[in-house]
């Protein structure tokens, strides 16, 4: 049980690919008073997260969480803690991630949990944990909170990957504690949380050494771990705490974190109205599992939404920009993990687009305030979660819609956009928020990405958008709308397109969309997701991992894996 919702049906329901009725949705909201697995403390400028996984408190009943290994519930707490550092603890300038369990930092994702999960769950679990790790890096890079992994015990697999997501890694030199990637030699799968990419891209561990490191199950410890660049420092057991403090204080002293007053994040608690509707204040998700389609509706801010600094700070967590995107975030997570039967999402907006533009402008104008800057960063992360969600998104521009500024990003990020031509038809408009404040994982703006990096086409479209609100026919001309249709055609065309799409193989669509959504350059982040969705998912499906003779299947069993040694 987590947050009062029974999750026992979780994996069973995942196996039944369209059933999301009469059972609980995963609760992605928590708060420190309810943490089971992390000890979270703040002391002045330093926050501390110590992992202490409760073996019997896993999300599912069919496994225990031994060795400080994590499952989704553990990661939900980690993600929550990182948000709270951003919003509730503006004085924090460095974060220590460590363990409260002797001799073991973290053994990674729980193998038995993975073994018992459906493939769809594994994929979305990995996606979520990756987003959390990238959020940890983003916390350092964009919010000025230095992150230090204090490995006071062994960090294996996902445990070391978590450390790799921190700026600095200290590994206790006790003759025993090691960092390791046992996935390949022991389980015949890959480290699934960006470890391979970060090893070479971020820490620049020489390629041949990385190669060795990834094939020795027991890993590397002490002096050699430092020599190879796997960690930054290997203090002795007695000197460990002092070394951590020294680095933490030094990092805090250099922090550029912007000043802010703390803003508490209250629980959102999307309302569930029957099984078919999830409703927040600004976001509504309606599900039609029979049609494999969901409708996502976002409302623009009301006319009295504050755009003056003082009033905005006053409103805090109830600011439209934060509240609406938190709700959107929860809706996306529900779509991913609890609504596997939904293949396509129709995305609509409503309300006054001009208000969105005013809010966007106010957020950017007051970016020197730590809180308001965090709001914008949160919007950016949520939109990246949208880009990385394995559902088809069709944006629908209809009378009364508000695809402006930050909400326009939803249209630009969608796989297609249909618009109804009518007298009072919806209009598109840009704000300064569309010019780089909400980048995608591979670093492009969504406008530039829409035109596959063609700067001329993108800037022409951007110019068209800034000349005031753009009617849908002009927007079609500018390449921002896939099809603008009059009332004679619109309904039928959209219905056909939606039905057609929802009838295609969801696997092929996932791969196709992931390939088409990110033209242009790669970054470490985008590589991580691409590798995850291609290699990791493929390997997880292979008999050598999950067949009867597979290593993952036989892990912990008396039988040895037997491989098909033919190379693909």
């Amino acid at each position: 049980m987590l947050g009062g919702i029974d999750l026992r049906g979780y994996n069973r329901a995942m196996a039944d690919d369209s059933a999301a009725t009469s059972r609980g949705f995963t609760d992605f909201e928590t708060d420190p008073s309810r943490y089971r697995h992390w000890k979270f403390s703040v002391d002045g400028a330093v926050a501390r997260l110590a992992l202490s996984v409760q073996e019997e408190e896993g999300l599912g009943p069919e496994y225990t969480l031994k060795q400080n290994a994590y499952d989704l519930g553990v990661d939900i707490e980690l993600a929550d803690a990182l948000q709270r550092i951003r919003f509730e603890h503006p004085a924090v300038k460095s974060l220590v991630v460590t363990s409260a369990v002797p001799r073991i930092f973290c053994a990674g994702a729980n193998i038995y949990m993975l073994g018992k999960s459906t493939h769809a769950f594994k994929v979305n679990f990995c996606k979520f944990t990756n987003e959390t790790r990238i959020g940890l890096e983003d916390l350092s890079k964009h919010s000025g909170v230095a992150t230090i992994a204090a490995l006071n015990g062994t960090a294996a697999g996902g445990g070391y990957e978590l450390a790799l997501a921190c700026d600095q890694i200290l590994l206790v030199d006790d003759g025993n504690s090691a960092v390791s990637f046992p996935e390949v030699p022991l389980l015949a799968v890959l480290p699934g949380t960006g470890g391979l990419t970060r090893l070479v891209d971020k820490r620049r561990v020489r390629r041949d050494r990385s190669d060795i490191f990834c094939t020795i199950a027991e890993g590397i410890k002490g002096r050699r771990a430092k020599d190879w660049g796997l960690v930054d420092e290997v203090p002795s057991k007695t000197g460990f705490d002092a070394a951590v403090t020294r680095r933490t204080d030094a990092a805090a002293a250099q922090s550029t974190r912007r000043a802010a007053t703390p803003v508490a994040l209250p629980r959102i608690g999307l309302e569930r109205e029957s099984d078919a509707v999830l409703r927040g204040r600004h976001v509504e998700l309606r599900v039609d599992l029979g049609a494999r389609v969901a409708d996502l509706l976002l409302s623009a801010p009301a006319a009295d939404e504050p755009v003056e600094r003082a009033a905005m700070l006053q409103k805090g967590a109830e600011l439209w920009a934060l509240r609406a995107f938190r709700e959107l975030d929860l809706a996306l997570l529900a779509l991913r993990l609890d609504l596997p039967g939904v293949n396509l999402v129709r995305v609509r907006t409503k309300g006054d687009g001009a208000m969105v533009a005013r809010v966007d402008a106010a957020l950017l104008a007051n970016a020197d305030d730590g809180f308001l800057n965090e709001v914008r960063l949160f919007m950016a992360r949520t939109l990246r979660r949208y880009d990385l969600t394995a559902k088809s998104f069709f944006a629908l521009v209809e009378p009364g819609s508000a695809f402006t500024g930050s909400l326009l990003e939803l249209l630009l990020g969608a796989d297609r956009a249909y618009a109804l031509i009518a007298d009072d038809c919806g209009q598109l408009a840009a704000s300064a928020m569309n010019d780089g404040a909400l980048p995608m994982t591979h670093g492009l703006t969504r406008i530039l990405n829409r035109f596959c990096g063609d700067e001329r086409a993108a800037s022409a479209a951007r110019k068209a958008l800034s000349a005031g609100a753009l009617g849908v026919e002009d927007a079609e001309q500018a390449g921002l709308i896939t099809m603008a249709l009059d009332d004679l055609d619109y309904e039928d065309e959209v219905r056909l397109a939606v039905e057609e799409r929802a009838s295609l193989s969801p696997d092929a669509l996932t791969g196709m969309e992931a390939s088409l959504r990110f033209p242009g350059p790669e970054t470490a982040d985008s590589k991580i997701f691409a590798r995850l969705s291609a290699w990791q998912n493929w390997i997880f499906q292979r008999p050598n991992a999950t067949g009867p003779g597979g290593a993952l299947t036989n892990y912990g069993q008396p039988t040895r894996p037997s491989f098909d040694y033919r190379r693909t």
Partner: protein, 467 residues
């Protein structure tokens, strides 16, 4: 003239704004096409034509003299008395589709466009024939076929306009942009790019190629997509006349050949007729080209169409007990290692072959009637249908050569032996030399016998076309 008078229909055109708008734009383009590619030289003449103005017994064949550009091309769906569910495929028994299900949009559009493209194509193929008509009766029949092929185009365009939105309108425009035999924008199916240079070819075409249409329409008339089913049913009522023109045309050519042979000591040419063996070569040519239209013997497309409930077998509902066709095989002869061997083909993948089987049986019956006519005329010679493997361009046999008996030919002379059974340059020259217009009411060219009865029971010297 009201809209419903201009475009007779039973599809509530006057209340369907979308359809009106689409047709308003398309109709002028259609008329331009008709003037450019329709029958050359007769557009201002009064022709005794039947027009469908409604679907009831009195309405579907209203006869009158009209100028072809004034022909009232209409849109008709055969009414259905009872609710008819999807009759075959993976989901038999579910309600028929009244709108296009999104997941079937592309296959359905492909079926409609492929069928629709043949209609204007045949008009283009036949556009010069009027100038060499063997009689006013035949000239009128040619034009009747032409305007009805035009109406069949309308029927398919209706489906595109009504159910396929913008894509459908673009496809409908494309139908008018393609041209039979044009190297740059040819018609979709190769048979419809073959020129029809003389009336013997015209009769063969309406006999064999229009008959393919009958079977394609018959298979679509079983469709779970109700508007297509009903459209095709109505088209079939018109198609029957085209087949009649073809079959009786060949009968009359053969009869005349037998008569002339008798009169000229066996030398049909001396009497100015078309020898029976020459007719045979034309039959070989058009029958084989028409067989291509059914597609590959083993086809996953045909299996998909069947599984989706979009295209059934001929008379699917009446003739078959098992409408899933999941079990069972059809024995399809294929060529392997230089020999013909039987391949057990899952029934669903052999749907094209099922349809071709029915078609061949139908053609064989016509062939029997031709031979009966020859017998009546006291001729010894008979005509036959070539084997289905002969002279094929599509499917299992396209890569090999067969003679008309269906035997695999392998030697260096294989191509020549195939060619020997097809019309040659001399045949074309001879038939061409006979093509002289006969336009006196009641008169017929010497190479063809008159018909037994007139159209709509009109007298022999009726002025079918007022020149």
């Amino acid at each position: 003239m009201s809209l419903d008078d201009r475009i007779p229909n039973n599809v509530d055109l006057h209340t369907d704004r979308r359809l009106q708008k689409a047709l308003e734009q398309w109709q002028p383009k259609f008329l331009d096409w008709w003037m450019e590619m329709g029958p050359e030289g007769f557009q201002t003449k009064d022709v005794y034509l039947r027009t469908a103005i409604s679907v009831d017994r009195d309405g579907w064949a209203t006869f009158d003299h009209v100028k072809m550009p004034d022909y009232r091309w209409g849109i008709f769906l055969t009414p259905e008395e009872r609710k008819r569910p999807v009759g075959f495929g993976d989901n038999p028994g579910v309600e028929s589709f009244e709108e296009v299900p999104g997941e079937f949009r592309n296959p359905l559009r492909r079926l409609i466009v492929t069928q629709g493209d043949t209609e204007p194509a045949s008009v283009e193929q036949q556009r010069l024939l009027g100038q060499t008509c063997p009689s006013l009766y035949d000239l009128r029949n040619l034009f009747q076929v032409n305007v009805e092929e035009g109406r069949h185009l309308w029927a398919m365009v209706y489906l595109l306009h009504r159910f396929f939105g913008r894509d459908g309108r673009e496809e409908a425009d494309e139908m008018l942009a393609r041209r039979s035999g044009d190297p740059d924008k040819p018609r979709i199916l190769e048979t419809f790019n073959q020129p029809i240079k003389n009336w013997l070819s015209f009769f063969c075409f309406t006999m064999f190629t229009d008959r393919d249409g009958k079977y394609q329409l018959g298979a679509l008339a079983e469709s779970g997509f109700a508007p297509m089913r009903r459209t095709c049913q109505f088209m079939l009522t018109e198609e029957a006349h085209h087949l009649f023109v073809g079959e009786t045309g060949i009968t009359r050519v053969l009869r005349r050949a037998a008569q002339l042979a008798k009169e000229h000591g066996g030398d049909v040419k001396a009497g100015g007729g078309i020898p029976i063996e020459m007719v045979q070569r034309y039959i070989n040519y058009w029958f084989s080209y028409s067989l291509d239209l059914f597609g590959s013997e083993i086809s996953s497309n045909s299996s998909d169409y069947f599984a989706m409930g979009l295209k059934g077998r001929f008379d699917e509902e009446k003739k078959y007990a098992d409408h899933s066709a999941r079990e069972g095989f059809l024995e399809v002869p294929v060529v392997e290692d230089g020999r013909i061997t039987i391949r057990q083909t899952p029934l669903r993948n052999a749907m094209n072959e099922c349809l071709r089987d029915d078609y061949i049986k139908d053609c064989e019956a016509a062939c029997k009637r031709w031979n009966r006519a020859l017998e009546e005329e006291g001729a010894e010679q008979r005509v036959t249908l070539p084997n289905r493997r002969f002279h094929r361009h599509i499917g299992e046999y396209a890569q090999h050569k067969f003679n008309s008996a269906g035997e695999l030919l392998t030697g260096p002379d294989a191509a020549a032996r195939v060619a020997a059974e097809l019309p040659n340059a001399e045949d074309e020259a001879w038939v061409g030399s006979l093509m002289k217009a006969v336009t006196k009411p009641g008169a017929f060219a010497n190479w063809i016998a008159p018909p037994k009865v007139g159209i709509n029971s009109m007298p022999a010297d009726f002025e079918y076309v007022k020149l």
